[in-house]
């Protein structure tokens, strides 16, 4: 009975907190500078990219190092579509969803026989191959020069200022973020997590495991491509760097730093890493070294991410309050989380 009360209270707390974050984000332009609006926009786009990635990584347990492929694909769809072919924004979004999903399905099929580090290498190879295509198929991509002049006004109805564009990005991110949330709670979404925990058990329950693996990549690819569309319109540019493997590594870092086992992990991770980058590059050119240290320290001391730490604290606090010995469960839980980000 007290559990029910606590549950209701938590729900209420959650809604209030979400509302507060939402209001703060929407109202941010009235408080912060235009530079900071740019940074917030970037965080929002990366958060969506991270959510998409985490379907495969955190939930599905498949370490992709090739998600830049979907992200860059989305960028080139809006780049080639609007700058070279005069397509409308609806077409761009539909194409990004469809082609992102198709590429996702292909990658999903290719990785069916792979596990762990082999998934990582395979996805890396696919993304690198696409990078090579983008670099060399100059007639379409303009190669190294990339495609500039992507209009932000495509996404914003009416007047495209930095602020209205930011709101538009927030809206798109919120919509697709909510879709990812629904997806992850659906039977298919839960089955993807279950496949990570035990593929043999899932198959014995009547699920075709390969379909759920492919499904994870498909949905992930589609949403990542949407994030790529937003990123290209934020920069008004798309080039081979949108497909670079460092982009794939960075999105993995977002998920891990935030906490891959949590839905909001990639959001928190994107906010933390982008903020760190912006802050560090403000006073030193050695921000790559700082980024490198971040990778190392995160894996050594915070493998379950920021939310994992928060979660541990909360469990410990609650355990103390309940006067229960909680060390064991907490330790177990965090072990499980660490493992879940890894190879199944």
């Amino acid at each position: 009975m007290s559990a029910v009360n606590a549950d209701a209270r938590n729900r209420l707390l959650l809604r209030v907190a979400l509302l507060a974050v939402g209001i703060a984000l929407v109202a941010a332009p009235y408080v912060v500078s235009s530079f900071q609006i740019g940074v917030l926009s970037r965080i929002a786009v990366f958060a969506l990219f991270g959510l998409a990635f985490n379907i495969v990584f955190g939930a599905g347990g498949m370490p992709s190092l090739g998600h830049a492929a979907f992200f860059g694909l989305g960028g080139y769809i809006i780049g080639i579509g609007t700058v070279r072919l005069d397509a409308g924004i609806i077409t761009v979004f539909v194409l990004a969803l469809v082609l992102g999903a198709v590429l996702g399905a292909i990658v999903g099929v290719l990785t069916l026989r792979s596990h762990g580090v082999y998934v990582l290498l395979l996805t890396l190879a696919v993304a690198q191959a696409l990078w090579g295509l983008a670099f060399q198929q100059v007639r379409w991509t303009r190669g190294d020069n990339g495609i500039a002049g992507i209009e932000r006004s495509l996404i914003v109805p009416g007047d495209a200022t930095l602020v209205t564009f930011y709101w538009a990005v927030l809206a798109v991110v919120a919509i697709f973020g909510a879709l990812v949330w629904w997806f992850q709670r659906s039977p298919a979404g839960v089955a993807i997590v279950a496949h990570r925990e035990s593929a043999s058990r899932l198959a014995a329950l009547g699920y075709r495991v390969s379909a759920y693996r492919i499904g994870a990549f498909t949905v992930s690819g589609a949403v990542a491509a949407i994030a790529g569309v937003l990123y290209a319109s934020l920069n008004r540019f798309v080039g081979p760097e949108n497909l670079a493997w460092t982009m794939s590594a960075e999105v993995m870092l977002f998920a891990i730093v935030g906490g891959a086992a949590f839905f909001a992990g990639p959001i928190v991770g994107a906010a933390a890493i982008v903020t760190l980058e912006v802050w560090v590059s403000g006073f030193t050119d050695r921000w790559l070294a700082v980024l490198g240290l971040t990778y190392i320290l995160t894996m050594l001391f915070m493998p379950q991410g920021i939310l994992g730490l928060v979660d541990d604290r909360r469990r410990a606090w609650r355990a103390r309050r309940d006067g229960r010995e909680a060390a064991a469960t907490s330790a177990n839980a965090s072990d499980a989380l660490t493992g879940s980000g890894g190879m199944s």
Binding site: P63, V109, L110, T111, L112, R113, S114, H115, G116, V117, Y118, L120, L121, L122, L124, A125, V126, Q128, A129, W131, G132, L133, F135, Q136, W245, A249, M252, L253, I256, D285, R286, L288, A289, L291, G292, L293, T294, Y295, I296, T298, M299, L300, P303, T338, G341, G342, M343
Partner: protein
């Protein structure tokens, strides 16, 4: 005739460079199950240190030795202080090595600047073998020999000494390995150190071939990964055959269809991984 022979020798010598780049990577993976994505950074570290010492002392072999020792030391420290703490966890290992690569490469850039540099060829190997209608540099011939020697050394190390078995036992079950008297930390540090030593050697000899500049660390890593993946993760013999095959393919591929080079390298690797994740010569893994 001379032209075909030239192409074959070229392909083999480039393949030998690829094998040198990949040998340390395949060693650490094969024995420790650790994918060291900082491999390219150790390559650069070796190359830059050798150049630095050479400029100060003008003694080639001394600078080569210093570079290898210094990189090995860094590798051993890195293994002890960071990598060892995530023993057996693939993903944390991968991200830690990525982070270390960023760190090392950025510090190298800060210290040595960004101008392209190139460690010199070893003394005495500057010449060119010239036959009638055919020229081939001594250094490239030497690389082929060195690749075979390195392969032989690794092969013997793994099959003829107990170290291979001890390392594998330690990876599979550290407590048991400890209980039968294997000094697990020392073994891992040694193997990782050997991997970085090979990377540093590749940085000096392979570096004389490929040059050094910011970004080399990833370029070299990606090349090495292709070789290691094609050969089969952890298979030293596989890596040698794969390196030579990729070298020859690259040679003839560029000769026949020069414009698709980047794409042609990665697309077949992706397909190979999809069909045979363990590569051509890797052992099937039960997972």
């Amino acid at each position: 005739m001379g032209s075909i022979l030239g192409h074959i020798l070229n392909g083999l010598s480039f393949g030998s460079v690829l094998f040198l780049l990949a040998s340390g990577l395949t060693l650490t993976f094969g024995l420790m199950r650790t994918v060291n994505l900082a491999h390219g950074a150790f390559f650069a570290l070796g190359g830059y240190i050798a150049l630095d010492v050479l400029r100060r002392t003008d003694r080639y072999w001394f600078s080569l030795l210093v570079a290898i020792l210094a990189a090995t030391l860094v590798g051993v420290l890195f293994e002890r202080l960071a990598l060892h703490r995530v023993l057996g966890k693939e993903l944390p290992q991968i991200l830690i090595t990525v982070g270390f690569a960023f760190l090392i490469a950025d510090l190298l850039l800060a210290y040595y600047g960004g101008r392209p540099q190139s460690p010199p060829r070893p003394p005495g190997l500057d010449g060119v073998l010239r036959l009638e209608n055919f020229a081939f540099p001594h250094f490239r011939l030497a690389l082929i020999v060195v690749a075979v020697v390195v392969w032989l050394g690794l092969h013997l190390l793994i099959t003829r000494t107990k170290i291979g078995a001890m390392v594998r036992a330690s990876v599979d079950d550290e407590p048991i390995a400890r209980s039968v008297g294997v000094k697990v930390p020392a073994i891992f540090a040694t193997v990782f150190g050997a991997g970085t030593a090979l990377a540093a050697f590749a940085g000096v000899w392979g570096g004389a071939f490929t040059g050094l500049q910011p970004g080399s660390e990833w370029q070299i890593l990606l090349l090495a990964l292709v070789v290691v993946v094609v050969g089969g993760l952890g298979s030293v013999g596989g890596a040698l055959i794969a390196a030579l095959a990729v070298g020859l393919l690259d040679e003839f591929g560029k000769w026949l269809f020069p414009s698709f080079a980047l794409f042609t390298l990665y697309a077949p690797v992706a397909v190979l991984l999809a069909i045979r994740p363990q590569g051509f010569f890797g052992k099937e893994e039960l997972t």
